[in-house]
Symmetry: C2
Subunit: 160 residues, 2 copies
């Protein structure tokens, strides 16, 4: 999936917003992850960051926060068929949250292996694509896109 | 896993609380699911119900609500090594949320197949046990326990 994949310029822009959010989360004392929501029509809707420490909420991963905030601010209809650009390959929780929100594609930057290497800690080894296998309606998983840029932020966390 | 499994009386009690919560959620216009949290020491900590319609939050599945509310009310330390009794076999999102919360065992009532049969709609076919395969630390998945009682509530939703 990741071999010879090409992404459009606006996809790179969307991912950079997610990676910027990951750096801001790190600066705020949260885990270094961000995510960007782009509508089915290609409109930039929202950017969110991990808030699991600042909000004292272990479910506060960037993608899940993005889905919750987007529904609150824009209504669930706005999320249908949308794409999420995630600075890290989504975990099972976030994969499910995006699916239930009506997201139909996710693009990730840093891989699960890079996340595990930089952060350590508890591990859910099933990948986003594995977790979503057989989902109906289907959800597309693409990546990595700007994986090294996202990984650089993860390494700052590791060395902090 | 479900063959010839025996459960203790207090486990049945905990599951009945989850099933009662599923019926209350149904009466409130939410999806018919509930979940009970029991500490590693066997203490009943909290019961939660699905609130995805009443809270306008597609992540408001019973198990995820339970983890969020438990952290808010009791602190994350209280959840470590705890067990969740879920009226329905948990989806990928909830499996991940419980894992990140430090839950180490989940017991379910109605199976994923029963849920799909009664409710229809979008489907994430990977089971909780599949999603959590290889998790570190490991998480134990047991069930069904009182599956028919939970399924009876699901069927009320289907016929409403």
């Amino acid at each position: 999936m990741s071999v010879a994949m090409t992404f459009k310029a606006n996809e790179t822009d969307a991912m950079r917003l997610a990676i910027d959010a990951s750096a801001q989360a790190l600066a705020a004392g949260d885990m270094p992850f961000g995510a960007t929501l782009v509508s089915a029509q290609g409109e930039l809707l929202l950017v969110a960051a991990n808030n699991q420490n600042s909000a004292a909420d272990c479910t506060g991963h960037a993608e899940l926060v993005l889905v919750r905030e987007a529904q609150k601010k824009l209504g669930l209809a706005a999320l249908q068929g949308a794409t999420v650009y995630a600075s890290g390959e989504p975990c099972a929780m976030c994969s499910g949250a995006m699916f239930w929100g009506g997201i139909r594609r996710v693009v990730y930057a840093a891989s699960q292996a890079q996340i595990a290497q930089a952060l350590g800690g508890p591990l859910l080894p099933k990948t986003c694509a594995e977790v979503l296998t057989g989902a109906s309606p289907a959800m597309q998983v693409d990546g990595p896109l700007l994986g090294d840029e996202a990984y650089a932020v993860l390494r700052k966390f590791a060395s902090a």
